[in-house]
């Protein structure tokens, strides 16, 4: 795996994880498998995306599916996206679907 490869670190005892690197079609299956467990109970789930350097439509799809899996019982919170990633998330209309973008990094 290249040094800009994709990584997920789950935070012990929290419904939270940190994503690092490039989230694309190549990373989608790994990301879904690693994160799905966090979304099995009601309540908000926080993903720290401050070190996410790239996102494509597969990443958008991942976030939408995970958010929708919570139904009315919670929402996905994406914490500290870079301005570039925040721009893509906004173009994709994630906020309109109820995903919360928190504290964009300058």
């Amino acid at each position: 795996m290249a040094e800009d490869g994709f990584r997920i670190e789950l935070r012990d005892g929290e419904r939270s994880a940190r994503m690092t690197g490039e989230l694309d079609l190549a990373a989608y299956d790994t990301a879904m498998a690693s994160l799905a467990g966090l979304f099995e109970a009601p309540g908000d789930v926080v993903l720290d995306v401050s070190d996410l350097t790239f996102i494509d439509s597969s990443g958008i799809r991942l976030f939408i599916l995970l958010h929708q899996s919570l139904g009315q019982q919670g929402r996905l919170v994406l914490q500290s996206p870079t301005p570039h990633v925040a721009g893509i998330l906004q173009i994709a209309g994630l906020e309109g679907l109820g995903v919360r973008l928190e504290g964009s990094v300058g």
Partner: protein, 129 residues
């Protein structure tokens, strides 16, 4: 027809996408489109993902041509395009690749490969303002 200033072939596999982005980043910067590298990386990634998901092809070719103050990138394969149309009411996630790709560039076209004429070609144009 201008001659491409950069061109490279990639295997039509998901794992090549980071390498495709490095190629786009290096060549677009060399061609003085540094300010547009992030938009171009996303647009080309979507075009390649489209080939990987929708065309039965072994290879994807990415070529860059300078046309005046614009950079034209073509992403070509040898496959037959298999459209998978989303049904928004049923499938809320939709298919966001094409609109996202279009949002990243100034001009965009897609020629679908068919049984009679194989090979899907996506053309992406980014212009300096």
């Amino acid at each position: 027809m201008s001659t491409p200033v950069a061109s490279r072939a990639f295997a039509a596999e998901r794992t090549v996408l980071p390498e495709v982005r490095r190629f786009v980043s290096v060549e677009a910067s060399r061609l003085t489109f540094t300010n547009f590298v992030e938009d171009l990386k996303l647009a080309v990634t979507e075009a390649c993902a489209n080939s990987i998901l929708h065309s039965r092809t072994n290879e994807i070719r990415v070529s860059m041509t300078l046309v005046g103050s614009c950079l034209e990138i073509t992403v070509e394969d040898d496959g037959i395009y298999q459209p998978i149309l989303p049904v928004p009411e049923v499938d809320g996630r939709g298919h966001r690749g094409l609109p996202l790709m279009a949002a990243m560039v100034d001009d965009f076209s897609l020629r679908r490969g068919t049984g009679e004429r194989q090979g899907t070609v996506v053309r992406l144009v980014k212009c300096k303002r």
